[in-house]
């Protein structure tokens, strides 16, 4: 039987990567000098599994590498080695190397061997210092290659009484011997007790076996390998001299251990070469599909199967009803359709939940990153994380990774001060960076906060004035000033600190977040640190929408952005500068955006009081959208306008309504921005 080992490799790589994550997180927690037995056990077990698996599945270089790591960990586990900072760092580098090697094995590309070799050399050096004192005795098996051709063997085999209790069966041993050549066994009944004294669980017989044929001594040793120590055994060649006759159990050991590795070596080599070939073939065919898989809890899958089952029942019920339908069955039809609606909704909710992953997937890389940065920058920082179980759409998760890295790096690099400065400012030496995630309405909020120096309002403002982004900034709020950080090319090398600035690439961060339909805000207090808050939609695929009518067109406004809808009272409308209108709602003034104007449509009426004002909030700003009528609320599936047509300002996508018509989804943040720029242009034109 030939079994393709290839099929187990994906599982092996996946579980190894999980193991490496565990190793990494434990190592990051570990303090030099104190080795918690359970922690060490955990990382040892992970390394041990990776070593065993990689050897089994043909990744010999990973196995060789991990073996050294495992040996070192084993010494720590046995208390023979101290946990030093050097060791922890070396193990962390090893984790990186193994991760690289696994990725290389998975994707079939060559990895950076230099780095691996370097870390391996470091590991060997560390191991070497202990190895000299602890060379395992008998590691080199003696050469036993002096067995001439033999005609057969005489084996005297006398099991100790409790040999059977190890699950070893005399019949099995004899069956194996019989498989090698012609065998004669003479049983010695001498030890047989009287029937009354007989203990059925104990071995009491002994045998003298003669085995004919040219059988190697090691083959016989292998048969008795498992019972070595549980029996008296003497193996002598037939017709040979009796000098090497009696075989004490201890001597059998190295010989018995010998055959296995000797046999295994060529097999392993063969396997490797065929793997190389296979990997070569795969290199071309494997695309990025590898990364687009998703791990789903079995309970979620079960729930889906269950729901599909219910859907099938409803469908067959409706099918039967349709076969001979008459009006008196209309109630049952209604019931059936209601059931169908419920099934569909539940199915939809469950399918969507499959795409949801806990945000810990995005957070997990940060302990390591902060640890490494601290070493580099000579800072002391504690990373706190909370809300890691908050679930987020997989696509959103993938796209939020880079912006998060940027923000955390900034917090560590520029936010937290070096220990001396912190002490001088009366703070604790160790700074804190806090990552937090939680749900709020239809959004997920991610906060990255630090207790560092905070943003320097004056210098940002000065820079903004210098760059002509604002005139004097007299009336600007903190939020508006900090918002300059997100301006493209707001190079701030001299703004926040003297080392470098926060602004580098922040415009990219903001653009990525906006592309996800999200927003980012900054809060900062001098001396007390800053908080960046990212607001993201839960999913990109479906949204709850309010259908509105403008002229003959239907638009969809995301329900999450709607605050309220109201009828316009003309007395509350103020027109400024001829073009912009403000509506006084309670104590606030909202800019009014006439949707028909923004999209160039012909409305029912251009009179404000004939329409309805939908108050919305996007990107932290409120506005009133003027529409002709409010229609239904419904969930809509978002279709990308960009892939099907092109990007349109103020529109985030499209959907198909129940009657087949296409409706455009209003991008609230976008349209507020659009109208603001429009009025700005009008202002500057007027001035």
């Amino acid at each position: 039987m030939s079994i393709d080992m290839e099929q187990f490799k994906a599982t092996f790589i996946e579980e190894s990567l999980e193991g490496l994550d565990i190793m990494e997180s434990v190592l990051l927690e570990m303090q030099p000098g104190e080795a918690d037995a359970e922690e060490v056990d955990n990382i040892f077990r992970a390394a041990h599994s990776i070593k065993g698996g990689s050897a089994t599945f043909g990744f010999s270089d990973i196995s060789n590498f991990t073996h050294v790591v495992e040996t070192l960990l084993d010494q720590i586990r046995a208390g023979e080695r101290e946990v030093t900072q050097e060791a922890i760092n070396l193990f962390l580098s090893s984790v990186d190397c193994i991760r690289d090697m696994l990725a290389g094995a998975q994707e079939g590309f060559d990895i950076n061997l230099e780095q691996v070799a370097e870390v391996k050399a470091g590991l060997d050096r560390m191991l070497g210092s202990a190895l000299e004192t602890a060379v395992p005795a008998g590691a080199e098996p003696e050469d036993q290659d002096d067995t001439p051709a033999v005609t057969g063997w005489k084996i005297i085999f006398k099991p100790f009484p409790d040999m059977l209790r190890s699950g070893n069966d005399v019949v099995r041993l004899f069956r194996e011997l019989a498989g090698m050549g012609e065998m004669e066994a003479v049983v010695d009944l001498e030890g047989l007790p009287a029937l009354v004294d007989m203990e059925p669980e104990e071995a009491c017989l002994s045998w003298e076996v003669t085995l004919f044929g040219n059988v190697g001594r090691e083959q016989i040793d292998e048969v008795f390998e498992w019972v070595d120590g549980d029996c008296e055994l003497s193996i002598t060649p037939l017709g040979g001299d009796e000098t090497s006759a009696v075989d004490t159990p201890a001597e059998g050991v190295p010989e018995a251990a010998n055959p296995a590795p000797v046999q295994a070596a060529p097999v392993a080599q063969e396997r490797r070469s065929s793997n190389d070939r296979r990997q070569g073939d795969r290199r071309k065919s494997r695309g990025s599909s590898e990364n687009s898989s998703i791990r789903v809890g079995i309970d979620k899958v079960d729930a889906l199967i269950n729901l599909v089952g219910e859907l099938v029942i409803t469908q067959s019920m409706l099918g039967q009803l349709g076969e001979d339908f008459s009006m008196d069955k209309v109630e049952r039809l209604k019931d059936g359709l209601a059931e169908l609606e419920r099934n569909t909704r539940e199915l939809q909710e469950n399918v969507m939940s499959i795409r949801m992953l806990p945000i810990s997937f995005a957070f997990n890389r940060f302990p390591r990153m902060v640890h490494d940065l601290c070493g580099k920058l000579e800072k002391k920082i504690e990373l706190k994380m909370s809300g890691e179980q908050t679930e987020l759409d997989k696509t959103v998760m993938e796209k939020i990774g880079d912006p998060l890295v940027h923000l955390v790096r900034n917090a560590v690099d520029h936010g937290i001060e070096i220990p001396e400065v912190r002490l001088k400012a009366g703070k604790s030496e160790t700074g804190t960076v806090h990552l937090n995630a939680y749900h709020q309405g239809g959004n997920i909020l991610i906060e990255i906060s630090d207790d560092g120096a905070g943003l320097n309002r004056e210098r940002i403002l000065a820079k903004a004035v210098e760059r002509g982004l604002t005139n004097s900034g007299d009336n600007l709020s903190d939020a508006e000033i900090f918002d300059f950080l997100f301006q493209p090319g707001f190079s701030t090398a001299d703004v926040v600190s003297d080392v470098s600035g926060r602004g580098v690439g922040m415009d990219v961060v903001k653009r990525n977040i906006t592309a996800l339909g999200g927003a980012i805000d900054v809060e900062s207090r001098p001396g007390n640190g800053s908080t960046f808050t990212i607001r993201l939609p839960l999913t990109l695929a479906i949204l709850d929408g309010q259908l509105v009518r403008v002229g003959e067109q239907t638009f969809i406004i995301p329900l999450v952005s709607i605050i309220e809808s109201l009828q316009v009272e003309p007395s509350r409308v103020n027109a400024i500068a001829g073009s912009a209108e403000l509506y006084k709602l309670r104590d606030d003034y909202l800019p009014v955006i006439r949707l028909y104007d923004a999209f160039g449509l012909k409305p029912d009426s251009t009179n404000l009081e004939d329409g309805l004002l939908v108050v919305v909030e996007g990107h932290g700003q409120q506005a009133g959208l003027l529409v002709d009528d409010l229609l239904a609320q419904q969930q809509v599936v978002i279709k990308s306008l960009e892939t099907n047509f092109r990007k349109v300002g103020g529109i985030s996508g499209a959907t198909i309504l129940g009657d087949g018509t296409v409706a455009l989804i209003v991008d609230i943040g976008g349209i507020i921005e659009l109208s603001r720029n429009g009025s700005k242009r009008a202002n500057s034109a007027a001035a």
Binding site: M1, I3, T11, F44, R45, G52, T56, G167, G229, A264
Partner: protein, 120 residues
Amino acid sequence: MANILAVDDSASMRQMVVFTLRGAGHKVTEAADGQVALDLAKRQRFDLVLSDVNMPRMDGITLARELRALPAFKFTPILMLTTEGGMGKKQEGKAAGATGWIVKPFNPEQLLATIKKVVG
């Protein structure tokens, strides 16, 4: 064919062992650690137990010892899957009541050959 209990905390090893044994016609039950295996063994009989040594919750050595204490497992063959070629774990396993061992890495053919020795 034999009714086998396969115990390993590594999913890929388990997958390989299970696939190989089922392919040869054996009935296989899986367990991810010693504790799970012991709980299973208290409820049903097996013809053979294959167990990894290093596992969370309960390791293979302890499992062997606990199994031997169960009347139904007094003589059941228990094979340890050890990574070490060295004698340490083998002797420890034997002392705990294991029947024998298979040294990792092994390939499916080697596994089947060993199983055949034990259960025929």
